[in-house]
Each structure stands twice: as C-alpha cells, then as structure tokens.
C-alpha cells in the first residue's frame, strides 16, 4: 500500500491530537505546520513510526517574514521517505527576538551543517547544537545576511569602489 497524505495526516492527528498542528498541500507537497517546541517530537515520530519512516533529512532552511509579528522566522524541514519515495515538509515559526529551536542533530547527523548554515544566514539559535558557528560566511560577519531587514542598496557602503567600472 502506498503511503498517502491522508494516512500521514490521520496518524499525526491520532498521535498528537493538537489543534495547532495544521496541514496543507501546496503544489501537492504535504506541509505540516507545528508549534516550535514540538519539532523534535514530530521528527522523531515521523522517523520511527513503522508506516511513515521519514528517515532522510533532505534540507533545513529558513524564511524571514518581517510582517508576521511574533512569528517572523520560519524554519523549514524537508523529509523524505526513501522507501515509498514520499516527501514531506515541516514548518515551525519562531519570533525574531528569540529564535530558539531544538536541534535535530541527535536524530539526523546530517542536520549539523544544515543547522549551521541556517544559523549563518538567518540567525536561528539551534539549542543543543554541538558546534553552532558560521559555516559559509566569513567568521567576522556580525549580521545575518538573508534576513529581510536591509535596504536594497546601502548608500553608506565603503567597500564598493566605482573608480574602475562604475554602475
């Protein structure tokens, strides 16, 4: 029997029975939105449950919604059941003032670098991460470049030298 979206939704609702757990299917990809503190329980259940077996973490990333008060930052997990070839997206929202999220490194070793990258670009604080430092950007960087809080062109910039080519 193929793993259907209805089956996943039914199992999750039976297990957690939480009204804050919402489901949608944009472009046919099942998306679970959960409260931030539930992320590990959900990942663990999706990983262990015999009929679900989401055992491959494709990616962790984040989105910044500057207009959503109290839930500015969205952390997105992409999971994959390799056996049934079914994908699942999980979203949690955290406020930009306190972007604390439990780390998934205990469950997926591959989450280590993904979380470092997400921290690097969005400043998500993964609580319990063994080595949370910047991975792609220079170590001296003191801001999170992918947050939507900067003007498109900064007139006060000093590192852009227009002498040779100009704009």
């Amino acid at each position: 029997m193929a793993l259907t979206h209805e089956h996943i939704i039914r199992l999750l609702q039976e297990k957690f029975a939480d009204p804050q757990l919402t489901f949608e299917e944009p472009y046919g990809l099942l998306t679970v939105t959960a409260p931030a503190e539930m992320n590990l329980k959900l990942l663990q259940f999706l990983h262990d449950e015999a009929s679900l077996q989401f055992r491959f973490l494709t990616d962790i990333t984040a989105v910044h919604y500057p207009d959503r008060k109290g839930e500015e930052l969205c952390v997105v997990y992409h999971l994959h059941n390799l056996k049934e070839n079914v994908r699942l997206r999980m979203k949690i929202y955290v406020p930009v003032e306190k972007p604390d999220v439990f780390t998934a490194t205990k469950l997926f070793a591959g989450a280590n670098w993904m979380e470092r990258e997400t921290y690097d670009f969005f400043g998500i604080n993964f609580v319990g991460h063994p080595d949370l430092r910047r991975i792609l950007n220079v170590d001296e960087m003191d801001y999170f470049p992918m947050r939507k809080e900067y003007t498109l062109e900064d007139p006060t910039r000093t590192d852009k030298d227009d002498e040779m080519f100009g704009r």
């Binding site: 792609l136 950007n137 220079v138 590192d159 030298d161 080519f165």
Partner: protein
C-alpha cells in the same frame, strides 16, 4: 636523400630585438636594467588563480588557438613560489580574500598581478555581502582586464600591457619609497 631542415630556421623562430647598446668586435655593452627587463618580460611565469568563467577564458588563452606560449609564458606554475605573474580570474568571495592574499605573499619579488574580468577588478555584478569588491582591496594590482568574461584576446592584451610594465620597470622600483608605501597601505612588509 638529403632532407632540408624545415623547422627552427631563423625565419620561423622570432627573436626579440637587441637592446640599445655599444657594440664592437666580440663585445656588447648595454645597461643592466635593459637586459634584466628583457629577460623578465619574455619569461613571465603565470600563476592562474581561476575561480569561475573568466578561468575558462584563461584556459582558452593558454590553449593552442590563442597560445600564450608565444609570449614567453610557456608553463603554468601551480606554486606561488616559482611564479612572477598572478592571474586572478573570477569572483573572489570575502572568505577567499585571506587565501588570495596568502598566495600573493608567498610569491617572491618581483611579482605582478593581473585582475582578469569585472569580478576580480571590481566585484562585477556581485554587488553583495559575500563578494570582495575588487581584489585591489587586499593586494595591489598592476593590470585590469575588463569584460564579463573578457575574450582571450583581451587577456592576451592585458598580458602584453603587463610585459610593457615589466620591461620598463626600474630595477630600483621595488626598493623605492613609493613602493614601500604602497605595500604598507596593504599591510604587507
């Protein structure tokens, strides 16, 4: 059957002109600077530092069609310690800036730098938080080659321009006060 030699005759091998000097029977006198300039100009050892598409154009420049070897840059040296001419071809991320600087520092004097393409010269289209806005922010540059990417002809032109600089460079330049000030402005001893 005698076979005439068809290669390495003087019509096929191009020689550089002799520098000005005083010549007599069995001797020739000229200035040391001219001889050194001539030698350096025609045996520049290139060190390619290619990170993106400009590097591909540079490979074409090295290939048989454009053949950089015609200008005395026969062999790429992939160690900075052997090379005279650093060719930076491509976007340099801010994270790579210290590595580029290290490569430059490992080269022995006299050393020259060509910035190939818009990215190496000014950051190019990557007006971004992660990209170095021109390599001249970390190392001094002698010749800038514009283009995105420049054609191999452009790169050859840049190298010929550099050869002019090398030929006419004073032997004392690297000990001069302005040069020391230039190095000091980049924080290089």
């Amino acid at each position: 059957m005698p076979r005439p030699v068809q290669y390495n005759t003087n019509e096929k091998v191009k020689l550089v002109d002799m520098p000005e000097g005083y010549m007599g029977e069995g001797f020739m006198a000229t200035s040391f600077e001219k001889v050194v300039g001539l030698a350096r100009k025609n045996s520049l050892w290139p060190l390619p530092f290619a990170t993106s598409c400009c590097g591909i154009e540079f490979m074409a420049t090295m290939g048989a069609n454009y053949d950089l070897a015609r200008f005395g840059s026969e062999r790429m040296g992939f160690t900075p310690r052997q090379c005279d001419m650093l060719l930076v071809a491509g976007t340099i991320a801010k994270k790579m800036a210290p590595i580029l600087r290290q490569v430059y520092l490992q080269m022995a004097e006299p050393r020259w730098v060509i910035a190939i393409g818009a990215c190496a010269s000014s950051g190019g289209i990557f007006d971004s938080y992660s990209v170095l806005q021109g390599i001249d922010q970390v190392i001094p540059v002698d010749v800038y080659v514009p283009g995105c990417p420049p054609r191999p002809e452009g790169i050859l032109d840049g190298i010929l321009k550099l050869q002019e600089l090398v030929e006419n460079e004073s032997l004392r330049r690297r000990h001069s006060e302005p040069y020391k000030q230039l190095m000091a402005s980049y924080g290089i001893q």
